[in-house]
Symmetry: C2
Amino acid sequence: MAPTNEYPTLCPKCAGALYVRYDLDALRRTASRDSIDQREHSMWRYRSVLPDVAPVSLGEGWTPMLPSRRHQNLWWKEEGANPTGSFKARGLGLAVTMARHFGVKKMAIPSAGNAAGALSAYCAAADIEAHIFMPKDVPKANLVECTAYGAHVTLVDGLISDCGKIVAARKSDEGWFDVSTLKEPFRVEGKKTMGYELAEQFDWKLPDVVIYPTGGGVGMIGMWNAFEEMEQLGWIHAGKRPRMVAVQSAGCAPIAKAFAEGKSVSEAWQGAMTDASGLRVPKSYGDYIVLDICRASAGTAVAVEESEIFASLADWAQHEGILLSPEGAAATAAYDKLRESGWIASSDRVLIFNTGSGMKYTDVIALHGPALAHP
Amino acid sequence: MAPTNEYPTLCPKCAGALYVRYDLDALRRTASRDSIDQREHSMWRYRSVLPDVAPVSLGEGWTPMLPSRRHQNLWWKEEGANPTGSFKARGLGLAVTMARHFGVKKMAIPSAGNAAGALSAYCAAADIEAHIFMPKDVPKANLVECTAYGAHVTLVDGLISDCGKIVAARKSDEGWFDVSTLKEPFRVEGKKTMGYELAEQFDWKLPDVVIYPTGGGVGMIGMWNAFEEMEQLGWIHAGKRPRMVAVQSAGCAPIAKAFAEGKSVSEAWQGAMTDASGLRVPKSYGDYIVLDICRASAGTAVAVEESEIFASLADWAQHEGILLSPEGAAATAAYDKLRESGWIASSDRVLIFNTGSGMKYTDVIALHGPALAHP
């Protein structure tokens, strides 16, 4: 992407997703691993490989990575420690940073819930109007937070894809900047910091497997871009990337289905239904990229049953002291299955992402109470 | 306190609160500021001034400290980024660490909510039984989290003081270790890490004012102990401590009342009522220590109205992008009042504690919705 005076959106040539690309020759001279700002305990510690603008920061990123107490060689990354309690803070923190830089006044987003909360918070911090479109059955926490941050909230009788259609139809009349997944380059750029962080926290030796709950899949794409960039910059050795595992709910598993069928794109999932609300994405705009990453990395894409998600959530709460989000619990459930099948060996170093705080899901966690009751 | 083979409780001589005291001569040789483990992004970075035992850690502490966007010289410390979403993780993380070390099998706690969540999580991690006694009208998130962690939960038709009586009456029959505020020395010891952190994050030049929402007040006591210890160890200059401000809700303000009346202890508050549930402590066991700190530091103790709390919560959400807990919003409301009265000068460097994540209070925040509605 060439330097620009406007917030870029899609590729002007093919209308596909744009990525941020840096002048790597110049970057190799200025952005060594020593350029990490060790005093900055946010994703802005990697400022040398992020756009050079004044951040709108609420302290996003540089989240804890902790070992499991029971499973050897298993770590989880606690994205719930981010502002607004989810990994969405990284991408939307950077997108709002760039929006302020480019003078955007109004932003709109279709969201399964957590992206809406993050956009609302960063827009409040940057004095930008936020227009939120969420399914009417999002977790209550998402509605409360967006309203509290002063966003304009519309609850839609439908799925995130229906919300996306409304934003697309109204944005030009309303003067909204559409910050939908992969329709602009900076959300994925913010999420790449997860890749940098896991590398630094693993002492620059990437794990063997990364298990990632996948709705839109932007986090996985961002990490993959980070691995590529770090190899180019000489921060990590080339050719030793993790096997990337995309996890979905059996109630909405377009990517897992396409992967199993050997297809390069997914079909829109009919009747999407899961209480892991972040996974309720019937058709991801970046599905083909995620599928490509899963295959290129010798990874996989798996679906777990709703009952397995909430059983794993209870298991981790009661035995590890962690209240996972349902999305995070989909990843732990997938870990159990892949260990049992032997796809993950006991010697494999595995990283699971808990993409959000369980505290934002107290309503659905309470609903699944029986599985959580103490004996 | 002499070395011990058992989890210590109260002072065997006077039945007052015990503090952990180290051999400072020995410590001065081993615990310099250089002894901080810069690679440890939790409170255990201060391991050199904590008990030398294997931690039960979920990544507690080393939380972000961020500047206000609107008020010069104002920072807030985001304790909501802790595991279980509140500062309680520090004290109970250390208490459970010590309990495991001493072989305790069952712990019990009276709690206004967040301490219960933290004890439940750390007990789950340490394989210790947790017995929780909370008022029946705690935020729903507290009930859901404790249940999810597998704790034994009893909801009490009363206040935290009534919960405390139940624990006291049953503990010896049941074999519970009573981890009530200040009835053992390690919760306050864990919370002292807030003092170390703010010092480090302020580059070892303490702020002029610390504003702290005060229920039991253990956090303030812990910080004060940290200042003392750091002076003794030569980590900070002596005699430049912050003015400490205890903030309470007008619906339950025993310490603010005693301060105003020049008394050295508080009276039990009658009819305690506030949606800042952590401040609903009618009589703190450590009230006399808190009052002493407020006075010794040339600080103060103030009460803010319920309406001021929720107006400040809306203000910070809409203009700073932060969803404070109601307790944190009591502190920001107090800041506004003390600035207006001139008690805080514009040149004063001020630190406010947001003791917990607003996401744990979505039910009460929604209740106070009108103040939060977008114009």
